[in-house]
Every structure is written in C-alpha cells, then in structure tokens.
Symmetry: C2
Subunit: 139 residues, 2 copies
C-alpha cells in the first residue's frame, strides 16, 4: 500500500514569528496552532494547505536538531512526512531494502501520530518521515 | 484566496534511476512519467501522492541549476510549489510585501502550468514556486 498523501512538510526557520508572517501575509495561509515540542527542542507553527500541513520549526536550544540543521545548511525545508498505514511493516520493508533507519520502531510525534524517520544518507539526502494516524485505523 | 494545495515538491538527486528505485521499491509509489526539460537542464521523474506530485530532478548539465544546488547543499528537497489562482495578482502582492521575485511574470512550466518562483532570500531559505493551471480556470 502506497502512502495516501503528504502529511506535512517541516521547514527549519530562524525566527518563527517572521516566518509565520511570510506564510500568512504573502501566501494567505492561516496559522491554526503554535506548539512547543520540548523533546525535539522546537516551537512549531502549523498551516493547512489542502491535504498537507506546513510545519515551521524554530529551535528553542542552540544544541537542538533544528539549530544544528540551520548551522549546517541554512534555513529551509527540513523533512517530508508521508502518511502510511501499517508503519511497522513499512519500516521493516525499508530496512530489508537496505535503508538506514533513524527510528527502527515508531514513536509518538505531534498530534498523537506514530512516526519514524528514515536516514537521509539512504534516501538521496531527503529526511523522510513515515507517520500513521492509528486513531483512524480500522484494524 | 489561499493556495488550494501543494502541487509538487521538487527534489534534487544525483542519479535519477537510483532515486526512482527508492520511491518505488521502498515507499511503494509509482513513477508515471519521465521527462527532459531542456531549458532547465534536468530530467524529471514524477510520482503522485494524494494531491501532490513528487518531482525528482537530475541535472543534465554540470552548470545547470540543479547541479549547482547539489554542489552547494547536497542532494535534497529543492523547492515547494503551491497551486494558486490569479498568479499575476499573487506575484504583485508578494512584491508589494517586499518579497524578492525570481520571476516577476509567470512563465510556462512543466505540464503547461503558469509558474513563477519567489527568491529564497525573502522566504526563510525556501525556494517557493507558485503555479496555476489556467486550463481549469473559469475566468
């Protein structure tokens, strides 16, 4: 089963308020939530565009993953998240295909989703997140 | 009017066939078209995920924009394209808001869309494309 849609795109920004203003005032989107995710050391702002969320990510700690990303690559797109079913099977399949996993098992992410990342070294430089909304599952 | 959805995500890859294999064999997507866009000096492979296309971009020229992107930043996500209506008005509005434009007027892109890029220096490091399918317009 292929991913149903792109659940979100994560974008690393230096200043959340400036970036929110860009997406609201220039593109006409509406920020519907701002949330601090302490274990990821980020503040996140969410926008909906069709099926997909834009998640702006501002680091709350100079040693956090988003701060390090910006130091290395500059502000910009940080990851893409694909909405999948049976995330555990997808991870096992990816591992079998030789993909390096950041998370060998799903963990809880924002909004209660089960999430796991594939390593960008195995995926043409793209940090790919798989995520599953198990509250919608029928199984 | 806000963008209706994310039309596509462009990803710069070093080797198109290797990257196609990743998206097909690991993620289970299906490449439905491969196209050479000579004026952009790229070969492109297309996949559909819900409302959004993934466009893998391989440079056909070491001096092309995708080759230069990879030299500077490595392989990875290159741009996001938002589907909009009245693209000329959107560009004028962005310019009025102080956004630097790469294309001050729309030009023809892949699949006959009218497209224009905003400069990443104005948009928190994200290369943003606006695109409009005027063949679907009612005006």
């Amino acid at each position: 089963m292929k991913p149903s849609h792109i659940e979100h795109i994560g974008i690393a920004v230096a200043n959340l308020e400036n970036a929110i203003s860009l997406y609201e005032d220039v593109l006409g989107l509406k920020c519907y939530n701002i949330e601090e995710v302490t274990d990821q050391k980020v503040r996140t702002a969410f926008f909906m565009v069709g099926q997909t969320k834009i998640e702006l990510l501002e680091s709350t700690d100079p040693e956090g993953p988003i701060a390090k990303f910006i130091q290395k690559k500059g502000e910009g797109i940080h990851h893409i998240a694909f909405s999948v079913e049976k995330i555990e099977e997808k991870l096992m399949h990816a591992a079998k295909m030789g993909i390096k996993l950041i998370d060998s098992k799903p963990r809880k992410g924002a909004e209660g989703l089960d999430i796991a990342f594939l390593h960008p070294k195995s995926t043409s430089g793209v940090l790919i997140e798989l995520c599953e909304n198990k509250t919608h599952s029928t199984g």
